[in-house]
C-alpha cells in the first residue's frame, strides 16, 4: 500500500512538473525572489550520470570505490562499521561478488534511501515550490519532500528517507536530513550508517549542463569524524519518464535466469 501511495504521488507530482513549464521543467526567472531567502537558483532539468561514468561512489579520492574497506580506504570508520562493511557481500567494489549478495536493495528491493539513490544510474528532477521542494526520482519511482526554510521537528521518527529540511544559500540548495533508520547502505559497496546519521547535501549548478552534489556525513556512532563526498551529474536529454520500478519478482527472475548460472562453479 505504501508503495502504491508513493507511486501514485509520484505520478501526480510528475504531472505537476510536466505542466509547470516548457520541457516539463520548473522554470524560475533569474531575478525571482523567495522572500527572505533571496533568489531561487535554477536547478531545472533532469539530472543523471555523465555519459561514460558509472554509478561509482562518493569518495572524492576514489570515485570508483575500488579501495572501500581496504587499508588504503581513509574513511574514518568506527571499528564496528569497518567490520560491518567488510562482512557485506556487495556486487561492487574491491570485493565485489556476484554471489549471495547481502545488498538490501538487490536482495529485498528495500528502499535505497539517500544518498545512495544518487549512485543508481537513473535520473532525478527538482520541483521547486516556495514551501516544499520535491525531488522526483526515476528509480522506484519515488519522491522526496524537503521542507523549505524551517527547522526539523523534535526527534523525528526514524524512516528510510529521514526528515529533510532545506534552504538556499546563494546559488546552492542545502538539504539537511536526520531521522534515518539504519537499514540502508550509504553506497553500492556497503558503507553502513547508524540512526544518528546527519546528512548534508549541497547542490550547485556549476554550469548549465553540470550539477555538483557535495555531501557531509556526520554520524559519530559509525564514523570517528565527519567526512565528505561528492557526485557530479550531467543534464540529461530524455528518458526521465521511463520509470524504473523495483520489483522483487523481477529481481528473482533475473537472479534465476542470469545470476545463478553466471555464479555457478566453473566447469
Amino acid at each position: 500500500m505504501r508503495n502504491l501511495f508513493l507511486h501514485s504521488a509520484a505520478l501526480v507530482l510528475g504531472v505537476v512538473a510536466l505542466s509547470a513549464g516548457s520541457g516539463g521543467q520548473t522554470k524560475t526567472p533569474a531575478n525571482s525572489k523567495a522572500g527572505a531567502q533571496g533568489q531561487i537558483p535554477d536547478l531545472s532539468g533532469d539530472w543523471g550520470n555523465p555519459v561514460g561514468a558509472g554509478g561509482g561512489g562518493f569518495i572524492i579520492s576514489d570515485p570508483g570505490d575500488r579501495k572501500a574497506g581496504t587499508p588504503q580506504d581513509d574513511t574514518p570508520y568506527q571499528p564496528w562499521a569497518l567490520a560491518k562493511l567488510n562482512s557485506e557481500r556487495p556486487e561492487n567494489g574491491p570485493h565485489g561478488t556476484f554471489e549471495n549478495t547481502t545488498d538490501p536493495r538487490l536482495k529485498y528491493c528495500d528502499p535505497v534511501g539517500v544518498p545512495r539513490i544518487y549512485l543508481v544510474p537513473t535520473q532525478f528532477r527538482f520541483v521547486q515550490t516556495p514551501d516544499i521542494l520535491y525531488i522526483l526520482y526515476q528509480y522506484g519511482p519515488t519522491w522526496r519532500p524537503v521542507a523549505m526554510n524551517r527547522g526539523h521537528r523534535q526527534d523525528p521518527d526514524p524512516t528510510w528517507w529521514g526528515e529533510s529540511v532545506g534552504k538556499y544559500e546563494g546559488d546552492t540548495l542545502v538539504i539537511d536530513t536526520i531521522g534515518f533508520n539504519d537499514k540502508t547502505w550509504l553506497d553500492h559497496v556497503g558503507r553502513p550508517h547508524s540512526d544518528e546519521l546527519h546528512l548534508t547535501e549541497r547542490f550547485r549548478r556549476i554550469n548549465h549542463d553540470t550539477l555538483q552534489l557535495d555531501l557531509v556525513f556526520d554520524d559519530s556512532k559509525a564514523y570517528t569524524k565527519t567526512w565528505a563526498g561528492r557526485k557530479i551529474f550531467a543534464l540529461q536529454h530524455g528518458g526521465f519518464e521511463d520509470a524504473y520500478a523495483c520489483s522483487m519478482s523481477e529481481y528473482e527472475h533475473f537472479r534465476q535466469s542470469v545470476v545463478d548460472p553466471v555464479t555457478a562453479p566453473k566447469k
Binding site: 558509472g54 556486487e91 528518458g239 523481477e250 535466469s257 542470469v258
Partner: protein
C-alpha cells in the same frame, strides 16, 4: 575456446566504470570483448532490473549454442535509442559482449550491429 570460428577476442585495456552502472560485473570478464559476427536473436526480455537478450550461434563443431546476455534496464536503454522492438526473434546481428568468467554461455552486452549497419550501444563505448 568453445566457438573459435565465430569468435574474435579483442583485448581491451579498459575500466569497468561504464558498466558499473546498476550492479556489479564481478561475474564477467571485463578485460576481454567477445564478438559474434552472426548471432540469431531468439528473444529479448524488456524488463527490470536488466533486460535480457537471447541468441543462438553455431559453434565450430556444428552445434547450436544458446546464449543469454544481461543488458541495462529499459530506463537506460530507451535514451540510447533502443526499444523493446529493436531486436526481433530471427534477426541476425553482430553482437559484442563480455562473457561470464565461469565459461557458461552468459555475458553482459556492449553493443549490437544491425544488418543495416546501425549500431545500438547498450553502454557507452570505452
Amino acid at each position: 575456446m568453445r566457438v573459435t570460428s565465430f569468435l574474435a577476442v579483442v583485448l581491451l585495456l579498459s575500466t569497468t566504470s561504464a558498466v558499473m552502472e546498476h550492479h556489479g560485473t564481478a561475474g564477467y570478464d571485463m578485460t576481454n570483448m567477445v564478438t559474434f559476427g552472426k548471432a540469431t536473436i531468439t528473444e529479448i526480455e524488456w524488463t527490470n532490473p536488466h533486460c535480457q537478450i537471447r541468441f543462438d550461434v553455431m559453434n565450430d563443431k556444428g552445434d547450436l549454442e544458446h546464449w543469454t546476455l544481461e543488458a541495462p534496464p529499459p530506463s537506460m536503454l530507451a535514451p540510447r535509442e533502443w526499444s523493446r522492438k529493436s531486436l526481433q526473434a530471427g534477426d541476425m546481428v553482430k553482437i559484442e559482449f563480455h562473457a561470464a568468467k565461469n565459461g557458461s554461455p552468459f555475458g553482459i552486452i556492449q553493443r549490437v550491429t544491425l544488418p543495416n549497419g546501425k549500431i545500438l550501444r547498450a553502454y557507452p563505448d570505452r
